[in-house]
């Protein structure tokens, strides 16, 4: 694989709101054409970073580069390289869905002869084609979100920022949107930068930065993160718990009794198989679960990622 160019470079970025430091001295890079995710609970500093990268907020300190341009001093060039779906609504509520999308085409200089077709396409994607003449103010919250996403997908930027893009979407729309986002990334080589607290969304990213209290606490591929910070676990239900516990203790394998089943940390699969075969007559159920990115977060911070989450 060739070495990809860093389309986003962030060095020692800090953002303060008065006395409150929202982002503390973070650094990371994003490869061109990759899908990069910020994973973390609400208030971790994800949106602050996105808003600063998008030229909407001013940084307090550090250096942020997109496509070779400085985010603070070359705002105009950065703006023409990016597309954003913000977390909060930025729709023109007095206008219809279609008018919102048309205005977006004007802002991003979509060629006139493509406007109609692209609007039709993105509205089909989020299943809003039939209501395109409705005023945004009259739409439900979920529909507004879909308009917002459709609008963000109309033009082809170099970097597409998606701040909690699929929050509030129904599963089918979410799946369709994701399918299209991945297609955009593959076919148009668009770099996707997203924030999420959905584990399954972070799983399909090229790289994930786990962020908490304004700091990046882990930054790697989802595979490596899970490999280094989580263990597979076996959940075993047995009619002879004493025997199972004895065998596990003999080999020094960590286990906990949870109601009816034992939770066993799997360090070595062969060992576990051996033990299980010894008490196979007693076992009524076995389930092996792979570590998830939520476990990664739990392992590093001691908290669940969705804990205290408002949305």
């Amino acid at each position: 694989m060739s070495v990809a160019k860093h389309i986003i470079e962030v060095r020692n970025f800090t953002k303060k709101y008065g006395n409150f430091t929202a982002v503390k001295n973070i650094s990371f890079t994003v490869d061109e054409g990759s899908i990069f995710a910020f994973l973390g609970p609400n208030g971790a500093g994800k949106s602050t970073t996105i808003n600063t990268l998008c030229t909407i907020f001013d940084k307090t300190d550090g250096e942020l580069i997109i496509d070779g341009k400085d985010v603070s001093s070359q705002k105009a060039s950065v703006r023409s390289a990016i597309g954003v779906v913000f977390q909060d609504s930025t729709l023109d509520k007095k206008m219809t869905i279609e008018e919102n999308l048309k205005m977006h085409c004007v802002f991003y200089k979509v060629p006139r002869n493509e406007v109609e077709e692209r609007i039709r396409f993105v509205l089909t994607l989020v299943d809003l084609l039939d209501v395109r003449r409705k005023t945004v103010a009259a739409l439900s919250g979920g529909m507004k979100r879909r308009v917002e996403i459709a609008r963000g997908l109309i033009h082809y930027p170099k970097v597409l920022f998606l701040d909690e893009p699929t929050t509030g979407l129904d599963p089918q729309t979410r799946a369709r949107v994701w399918e299209y986002v991945i297609k955009l990334q593959r076919e148009k080589n668009i770099t996707i930068f997203l924030t999420t607290h959905y584990m399954d969304e972070a799983e399909i990213c090229s790289k994930v930065a786990v962020i908490d209290h304004g700091k990046i606490i882990a930054h790697d591929t989802p595979f490596n993160l899970k490999k280094h910070h989580t263990k597979d676990r076996a959940y075993v239900t047995t009619s002879n718990p004493l025997l199972l516990e004895k065998l596990l203790d003999e080999r020094n394998i960590k286990h906990t009794l949870k109601e009816k089943y034992h939770r066993i940390d799997v360090e070595n699969k062969a060992d576990l198989l051996h033990i299980l075969s010894e008490c196979k007559g007693d076992i009524s159920d076995i389930e092996i679960r792979k570590g998830t990115l939520n476990d990664v977060f739990l392992e590093i911070t001691g908290r669940e990622i969705r804990e205290g989450s408002a949305s």
């Binding site: 907020f57 105009a76 023409s80 729709l91 023109d92 004007v106």
Partner: protein
Amino acid sequence: MRVIYALGIRNLKVFVRNRTALIFNLLFPFFFIFVFGEIFRNDFIENPVSFMLAGIIIATVFESSLRVSSNTIDDMTSGFMKEVLVSPISRLSIAIGQFVSSAVVATAQGIIIFVIGFFIGLRITSPLTIIYAISAMVFVGIVFAGFGLFIATKAKNIQTFQAVSLAITMPLTFLSGAYIPFAMLPDVLKWVGYFNPMTYAVALFRAITLEKTHLPTSELINEELAFKIGGVMIGPMEALGILLAFGIVFLLLSTLAFIRVDFSRMNRIKDDSIEI
């Protein structure tokens, strides 16, 4: 150009779609005709209806232009401005788009009253007057859009803007001669009126509508279409100059303020808790 046009059309649509406000805005000027109509029936004024209507048309253009500028505040607080500002279009074309759309909406409103005016006694003899009158409306609309946008960028929210714009609009319209003749004002207020740019917009527009721009300035003074302040005569041409100067100053100031204003701070006021 595409951006300016699109923003202009957008604001025109907002204006037309708000039916209640539209009807109210169109009826309100006629209410003034009934209330103040009698005041202008005096010996100096040849055609009181035309005189009164001209004042009301231009005052409506002025008020409407200021009001449309307040849309900017609305857009800022509703989040739409974030979409506008993160896009690659230049700040200058956004500002120009605002001026033009304010002027377009204001002129549209002025024209409607102008047309209705024909049915209640407005008389003109030359078709050219219509062109001059419309040009003057566009001009006054743009001048005061600059003023309105300037206040808008200084105000942090819609409530402040409404309070401030009311505090400015009321004295500017009532001390401009549009509703109450200068002759009826006490000397102190007369002097305040002389420093009011609206005074000259009203005088200029009346001179155009009454088709008296060709008359010598001294003949216009009786009808308050020109003023003699101290020893200085201010006729239609001078009025045009004053408005032009006032307009340029505020167009520049508001464009600068608009380019520099910290919108992220404005958004943060609203989203503080959820945006971090």
